[in-house]
Symmetry: C2
Amino acid sequence: MDTVSLTGKDLAAAINADSKARAAAFAVAPRLALIVANADPASAWYVNSLRKAAERLGIACDTVDLGADASVETLRAELAARSADPAVDAIMLQTPLPAGVTLDDVSSSIAAPKDVDGVSPLSLGLLATGLPGFVPATAEAVIELLKHHEIPLVGKHVAVVGRSNIVGKPLAQLLLAADATVTVCHSRTPDLAAVTATAEIVVAAAGRAGLITGKHIAESATVIDVGTNESADGGIVGDVDADSVRGRAAALSPVPGGVGPVTTALLMRHVVDAAGNR
Amino acid sequence: MDTVSLTGKDLAAAINADSKARAAAFAVAPRLALIVANADPASAWYVNSLRKAAERLGIACDTVDLGADASVETLRAELAARSADPAVDAIMLQTPLPAGVTLDDVSSSIAAPKDVDGVSPLSLGLLATGLPGFVPATAEAVIELLKHHEIPLVGKHVAVVGRSNIVGKPLAQLLLAADATVTVCHSRTPDLAAVTATAEIVVAAAGRAGLITGKHIAESATVIDVGTNESADGGIVGDVDADSVRGRAAALSPVPGGVGPVTTALLMRHVVDAAGNR
């Protein structure tokens, strides 16, 4: 079977064109505060790409580097100060965080109206109840990519591999809201392939390179690869072993060029949305 | 096969004994405000049973009846006032709500430290992230009933039938936290039996009498019945057709006498916990 490549570039371009036009309509440009507290090269690369994306769309971006040794208290104080600052529309906290600090330790200090990556408990609770709020961009990107490629979700069985607070769990909520039957699998699932092979759509969001192979996939399934793992040569590779899945799956999103650009575009759209809350 | 009955009465009695001793240790008894805005006989019966349960445990209980025509604004104002009242430790909003009012319209007016049934967006977000907060009592009762009967969850495949904000969705979070693989099915799942029959544990929380029959259940599965549907004779019946499941399932929780008494006991335990936040 020919496996269709579910690219995200066209969709990202369309979202970005819309965001750029909307951003230009503000008397004062939408402003994102990007909080960093690590010395990780991959994070620095991603922060730089976010800054460039913002610049292209007419979004102001302040990068605040608190250093890799920042304490929970420092992070909370910075997030609370930006939440209270009327000049800042949107806040994003970059990971990884300093050793010993988890996202849950500090995320509640991001005010929900500025929480453009939907990481705070309140944002996640609004998502769980179906109330308006910002949804984690990566989870939303999976849904938007499927919609863009006209892959229906109503009544479909979707297996989500990974139960992180920023991808797997919020994605399960979005899929349920879209009327899919949803199975969440994870590292403690004893026979992963037995579960994923029963699904019509498999979303790989475990953060393990090459975890999902042909034997994990039903014939003609759709496969969405959320993984962004560093490869030996310094590039990124997904959670899906594309060579073994291709020819068996009906469709597969590439890494890079699938979920990734849509995630960045949605983050920037959220920043423009947040500016609308002024 | 002999199907074990997973009764909740012993567990509820043990929880209640502990709550009663803890409640007695407060100089001023823990106080629950029970907000009612309906004229539903089943609700009145349940409110009365909660009042009696509170009384037996030494918990003060104020019933506030806002009438079946209460507006969103009236409900929000009442919930906010009780949230701000230092004499009130805990707040529970009884359903059904007036026509046109949903729980999501008003639940965010319940302050999280008093939200003993875990219905507010913040409470649900704390649950999703694994942070401390009150968990919806019915969802928690399912987990506690399984633990009490020593039915392990790690690595087990659990099918939850129903995706309500107060049972199905929070239960899925608790099951994931307990390392189960979780599938959430619902009214838009095209072939329910095909999904539930692959699970080792099935939780019926759809609110439809007799929905789950023998054909929905794998041989030797464990079945938890969360349903409380009114029967023709004025009693309550579960979502499980017990006659058709018995003899096939390894274990089944009865209705009444299964999840129900544990739910009430956990609610009361939460009231005592909330009093500890004074």
